[in-house]
Symmetry: C2
Subunit: 340 residues, 2 copies
């Protein structure tokens, strides 16, 4: 277990939702604005690229304006980690693939220890030899991270988080299993370079989800070539799907088929989704196109409508309440959800 600012990670603590800003860290105004947006979506920890001394110094001004802990993302130049700690970074990420000087890593460990700042050893597949087999690459990736963790421990540094990421889902899952078997460090999960929204949701959810189902993972990050708020949304969707944590409402809705007797059912679901922010509670809202699974799912949900011919039956906590016309579906679901 590590403590990052006031946030606990690992052990029995809830899986932490994190992401990374996409602004230039030296642009304090834009970065603070983006962090506020991310906080509003439920981001609990945010990482910022620190690519030079100016970015490291900007952390100080950014930290004054935001309430979630900041992670300084360091590559190539370990001196930037020292500068980031000096600026008040709550956690450091070091990439063992491009920071290799043991003396510098030891110095970062001593400085971080004195400041009470944890370090994530974050190894990525990008640096592995593509001629190796998948199993060999996974082993090399895990070993790269564990070797750097051992180096930190030699400086009596214990506040270590580990990640081993790849854009290859099987490799990432295999490497994480190896690290989990070999150590007790809190684990940060993610699939790197997962691509545009739909592809990343598929790849990241498959990889991170499989590990969470096995009880592995203490913090998760979706990498999406799109807005970082979508990364945070996806993380919460996955934690809810895994029944680990809930934030805001969930939709249970059918894909529809030739059995659906309510016209425009799919656009009703889209409307419901667009108005979910009007529901403050972590409730499950069902909108089902027919009675096949509709009644059952309607009963399982907190609030649900199961459609019959041209109209629906409202269920609240499993009890049928009244008939509803399609034009009133969305308003009814939102009103009933907020009444709970």
């Amino acid at each position: 277990m590590v403590k990052i600012g006031s946030l606990f990670m690992g052990g029995d603590h809830p899986v932490v939702v994190q992401t990374m800003t996409k602004t230039d860290t030296r642009d304090v105004g834009s970065t603070v604005k983006q962090i506020h947006e991310l906080e509003g979506r439920g981001c609990e920890l945010v990482r910022l690229a620190v690519k030079d001394r100016e970015a490291a110094q900007a952390l100080r001004a950014i930290k004054r304006e935001v309430s979630i802990p900041l992670v300084a993302d360091i590559h190539f130049d370990a001196r930037l980690a020292l500068a980031a700690i000096e600026s008040g970074a709550d956690k450091i990420r070091l990439n063992p693939s491009n920071i290799k000087d043991p003396a510098m890593i030891r110095e970062v460990a001593r400085t971080a220890k004195a400041a009470g700042v944890p370090i994530r050893v974050g190894a990525n597949l990008g640096s592995m030899d593509p001629a190796l087999s998948r199993a060999e690459r996974a082993r090399a990736l895990a070993e790269e991270a564990l070797a750097e963790a051992r180096l930190l421990e030699e400086e009596d540094f214990q506040d270590i988080v580990v990640s081993v990421k790849s854009s290859d889902v099987r490799e990432m899952v295999e490497a994480v299993h190896l690290v989990a078997e070999a150590s007790n460090y809190p684990l940060h999960l993610g699939v790197t370079e997962a691509g545009p929204l739909q592809q990343s949701l598929v790849k990241s959810s498959a990889g991170i989800g499989a590990l969470l189902l096995d009880g592995i993972g203490d913090t998760i990050r979706y990498s999406i070539s799109d807005s970082p708020t979508l990364e945070v949304d996806a993380a919460w969707m996955l934690l809810a799907a895994m029944d680990l944590r809930r934030r805001g409402p969930q939709i249970v809705s059918c894909p529809t088929c030739g059995r659906c007797e309510v016209p425009d059912m799919l656009s009703l679901v889209t409307q419901l989704e667009a108005r979910l922010n009007e529901i403050a509670k972590p409730v499950m809202v069902a909108l089902m196109g027919c009675v096949v699974n509709g009644i059952g799912e309607g009963k399982n949900a907190d609030v649900g409508i199961a459609c019959g011919r041209d109209q629906g039956v409202l269920f609240v906590r499993g009890q049928p309440v009244r008939h509803i016309q399609p034009a009133a579906f969305i308003d009814t679901l939102i009103a009933e959800a907020n009444k709970l």
Copy 2:
């Protein structure tokens, strides 16, 4: 292993991509049009709701116009299964939760056997008692499907596919594991009522992906409250992510961060995604915002651009080729991919 029309499923055969039409099956023109769209996206098996005799009869006209096998989705009334087989359905799905008369199920088995038509026993959680624990529900779901499969076997019927679905990912994964341990039937995987696009991609990929990683699953279906072509796209994205099958190009692209020195990198990825249909081959195309993972991932991809300051380096099969200006990134990647 079963044979559905000319399609093999199970054993060592590739995982089959399937989905369901959302049109009224009785509307032959719309249904045929949608099936053609789905075939064009790589759908290999398509299920149609057969909710009445007219829908069962429509299968005959639909089948004449399409080349992929058709599955008749039957609930409540097993006589519709007989009518669908009569109309040339290539496979029948029976829901054990709402078709319970053993004599009727036996009759369907005998008719299907005579016609060489496989049956999927498709149980859904919607019908389970919500007062049960998750483990109890998973066990009841698996048992419901296996009991119906045994009934079919008593009629010397062997061409059985099994599915146990739920909108609860853990429950579905648990139930599938129970069926996989207890039998050798080809397994159809899916998360029911998974909701709108983003949520369904998260839930379905986590559940189906975890099972595929364990080597379980012979056909997959994404349920999304949106266009069925998105369901097919997602299925292919998952199979590619699992390194099981490839269809068309894959994108490796970074989420970007404050390190990215190319302006509008995210919109370049969006442009690339929109033009992927111009690449005919199942190649991996990388577009990386900086050198941190860029060079490595660029090398792993078939064609890739890794950006430095205001420009990128083109990699083809791991070899750096030349510098490229951002305005030419997309055209270059597409041209080089098609040259391979």
